[in-house]
């Protein structure tokens, strides 16, 4: 009895505690009741190597820097893929296609940050500086941060340009060694960004030129604030940005390498958008009504390349027979979970050089077996399929794909062995040409079809390590070079259709699939668009 009354006296703190906990819980569901500072949080997949896409082609670096901090002379129209004006308001080409004159936009302000205060707006000096940095080996900034400009070197842009000249404050003239119609497209890629010459001079005077790539200054919509490895990259809005924009708050990259954690953060609203949802997550995202999943065919191709320098794969008939033995449509479901379309050529449908009526190979195991026997490949012939060890959109699971193909090849009497190494070893051995065949692919860096034809199959690409078939055809090279001498799309498309025909006839590689690209975000976010030509853009992203 006594004890019971005592209980009443001490039960009040218990109640208080419970009330406290409940009230703490109760305040949380209505997130909108109190307002956070304005801003977009993007869950990205990794740390950028630097904040200068000239130095690195990895998507992580490009996403974080290219369209947030910087602008280019030209941009791609995301819908049509045409080059449109950026920092250059207009441009003219000389008759012979060798001299390009760019008229620059006036009153474009550089970002004002804690470490740099610009005294002048953007002008021709900045263009000359940005180009000469990668072009001119004697430029004081050329070897700052390593002196490697991977994209620019891979397309040979530095050798193509013979001079970059300032005509007046708002006019720049670029002279080429030879006419090349992909030149303007290359200026619109994520890698042809414009740096601040004034900032560079200031850094050099201070003796810290390498800061130009880690504490970046550009004319883009966001200015860099801070970066903590494995945690975040913070940006503030650049208030004097020259273009129209809808994002006015901060931009934060929440660095989250695990894709399941990115999805979890997207679900709880800790991120407004996430990078690279995996194929198995797509259905989960589609089912949640507060999440939106956009998909778009990507500018990529996954393929099976034969080592054409190794007999019997030097024989086009054998290559064609092997391609006929594989059922591409079955691979679509098993490997891509329906998030890709079967490829008829190396060119994806979103490119203007796409040929709707081109036919690559048709599944025909009987025909394949017959063709193999005719060309001296007996039952029990053994070959290797190299399967790349990493996950890419164009081939999310090369190992599993190789296993499926192993079964198809067994049906035509071929014993296939699967080979895989750690990724850098894998590429090193591929470059030595040790493979019989390899499952690999390509993602384009710009909207120009030359970006597929040249690196994948021309003779010179064997050396630079992107021509995995090691196929060298003078006829093909001539077609690809000739296409570039015309500026009219129709004329170029003619040569490209010839090139596609030639590939189908010789089958140095079997195109397998063009994978979709995905963007997942919450339903209160608007303005996120998939950029098929490169990195993500946040200029027009806003949140209700």
């Amino acid at each position: 009895m006594n004890v019971r009354r005592l209980h009443i006296s001490i039960s009040s703190p218990v109640c208080m505690v419970l009330v406290c906990i409940l009230s703490l819980m109760g305040c949380s569901p209505d997130k909108n009741e109190y307002k956070h500072p304005k801003g977009i949080i993007y869950c990205s997949e990794g740390n950028p190597a630097s904040f200068n896409p000239q130095l690195d082609t990895s998507g992580t670096t490009v996403d974080v820097s290219s369209h947030q901090i910087y602008d280019r002379l030209l941009d791609f129209d995301l819908v049509t893929g045409e080059t449109v004006s950026g920092l250059a308001s207009s441009w003219t080409t000389s008759e012979d296609g060798l001299i390009y004159t760019f008229q620059l936009r006036k009153n474009v302000e550089f970002q004002n940050t804690s470490y740099f205060t610009p005294t002048r707006s953007f002008d021709a000096d900045d263009v000359v500086f940005s180009f000469n940095r990668w072009r001119d080996k004697n430029h004081p900034y050329h070897y700052v941060s390593g002196g490697r400009y991977p994209y620019i070197n891979s397309v040979g842009l530095a050798d193509l340009i013979s001079d970059v000249k300032r005509i007046n404050r708002y006019r720049v003239e670029i002279t080429l060694v030879r006419a090349e119609s992909s030149f303007l497209s290359n200026l619109a890629t994520d890698f042809s960004i414009i740096l601040s010459a004034e900032y560079a001079d200031q850094l050099q005077a201070a003796g810290t030129p390498e800061l130009i790539d880690t504490q970046p200054i550009g004319t883009g919509p966001f200015k860099f604030k801070s970066f903590r490895q494995d945690r975040y990259v913070r940006f503030d809005a650049h208030p004097q940005y020259w273009r129209e924009r809808s994002s006015t708050g901060q931009l934060i990259f929440d660095i989250t390498p695990s894709s399941s954690l990115r999805l979890a953060k997207l679900m709880t609203g800790e991120c407004d958008s996430m990078a690279f949802p995996t194929h198995s997550q797509l259905d989960i995202i589609r089912k949640r009504k507060e999440l939106i999943l956009d998909e778009k065919p990507g500018l990529n191709v996954g393929f099976w390349a034969f080592n054409t320098t190794k007999p019997p794969f030097d024989n086009p008939e054998v290559r064609k027979a092997l391609a006929m033995a594989i059922d591409k449509n079955a691979l679509m479901e098993a490997i891509y979970f329906g998030s890709a379309i079967p490829a008829a050529s190396i060119i994806p449908p979103s490119s203007w050089a796409f040929q709707p009526d081109s036919k690559s190979s048709i599944y025909n195991p009987l025909g394949a077996a017959k063709l193999l026997r005719e060309n001296g490949i007996e039952e029990g012939f053994s070959m290797t399929i190299w399967a790349m060890p990493v996950e890419r959109a164009y081939n999310p699971n090369a190992m599993k794909m190789a296993e499926l193909m192993q079964r198809y090849l067994r049906d035509v009497g071929i014993q296939a062995n699967i080979v895989s190494y750690e990724w850098s070893t894998f590429r090193a051995r591929l470059n030595q040409g040790l493979h019989d065949s390899v499952l690999i692919g390509w993602s384009a860096d710009n909207g120009d079809p030359d970006n597929f034809f040249r690196p994948l199959l021309t003779c010179s690409a064997i050396e630079s390590g992107t021509n995995r078939a090691r196929w060298c055809s003078k006829e093909y090279d001539t077609l690809i070079d000739k296409a570039l001498t015309y500026t009219n799309q129709e004329d170029r498309a003619y040569f490209y259709s010839k090139a596609i025909e030639l590939i189908n006839e010789k089958m140095p590689l079997m195109p397998i699939a063009h994978a979709f690209r995905y963007q997942a975000y919450r339903d209160n976010v608007t303005g996120i668009e998939i950029n098929p030509y490169g990195g993500i853009q946040f200029r027009n992203v806003s949140k209700q």
Partner: protein
């Protein structure tokens, strides 16, 4: 007394010596360049590497290398973290502050909840409420904290969306690092809308501190219960009742304060447990980007 202290100090020195020697040898036992393993500096230039090698006496004998290593340790130069590339000392101080903060809240939670419940159970000794609290505490004590953390995330963050699942505060708030205690840092900072930042940080704190507190709470509850039962059964309490004092008088009488016979021991126990278990769950929340 002096003898005991001397013994402990020499034991500590010996332990640290062996430990540092072992951690130094790890640089050789791990794959890769020992110098890189020691300093955490990768991809240094040739001159930089040579300078480092000199600093760490890499060309000398193993013993003098070890001596250099110990010197660096005492100078506070612990090398760079492989995972973040930041100085290790700074990394540790940051995450230590976060750990201490989390443990402190968990401790407060467990006392605020565990003490009254322990009293309740002790006073209602061998009644229904006692048994149910006791069994609940046994269950609470047996649940692995990392598992509890996972379940809590699954239910309260992902399903119900009540609490955020990662970080100490929404990234939209840029709170400058001062003390390492997020709530203190918010108060010291000059961000606008401080109260929203504070509320946001509290929300981030709830899940990890509660899931750790559940276990320490059961410890507090059981020890409190035991001591209450002991005191209630002691003769002087019985005598007090026999003299007709009301329960309230007995409870709040100065001499009955004898009862918290070893709260220091309880706190010690709980802190020990927190230091130990926070590691588990903290790791889990950390993997989830929590702390």
């Amino acid at each position: 007394m002096l003898k005991i202290m001397l013994r402990h100090i020499s034991l500590l020195t010996l332990t640290l010596l062996i430990l540092s020697f072992f951690s130094f040898s790890l640089a050789y036992l791990f794959p890769g360049d020992p110098l890189v393993n020691l300093t955490g500096i990768r991809n240094s230039s040739e001159q930089g590497y040579a300078l480092l090698a000199q600093q760490y006496a890499m060309q000398d004998s193993f013993i003098s290398q070890y001596w250099q290593y110990v010197n660096h340790l005492f100078a506070g130069n612990w090398g760079l973290s492989f995972s973040s590339g930041l100085p290790l000392a700074e990394e540790i101080s940051r995450s230590l502050a976060a750990s201490v903060e989390l443990s402190a809240y968990a401790l407060i939670f467990s006392f605020v909840i565990g003490l009254p419940l322990g009293f309740l159970a002790g006073l209602r000794h061998h009644k229904f409420i006692d048994f149910s609290l006791l069994s609940a505490s046994v269950i609470g004590y047996s649940i692995p904290v990392f598992w509890l953390a996972l379940i809590a995330i699954l239910i309260f963050s992902i399903q119900l969306g009540w609490f955020p699942l990662s970080g100490r505060i929404s990234l939209l708030y840029d709170i400058p690092y001062q003390t390492g205690f997020i709530l203190v840092d918010i108060l010291l900072s000059d961000v606008p809308d401080k109260e929203f930042a504070f509320q946001d940080a509290l929300q981030h704190l709830v899940l990890p501190s509660v899931s750790i507190a559940i276990v320490t709470c059961t410890i507090v509850l059981r020890i409190t219960r035991r001591s209450v039962i002991e005191v209630m059964n002691s003769e002087y309490i019985q005598a007090a009742y026999a003299r007709g004092l009301s329960p309230r008088q007995v409870f709040f009488a100065p001499w009955s304060k004898k009862r918290p016979y070893s709260y220091f021991a309880v706190i010690g126990d709980a802190i020990y447990y927190l230091a130990d278990k926070r590691h588990d769950s903290g790791n889990y929340f950390f993997m989830a980007g929590y702390w």
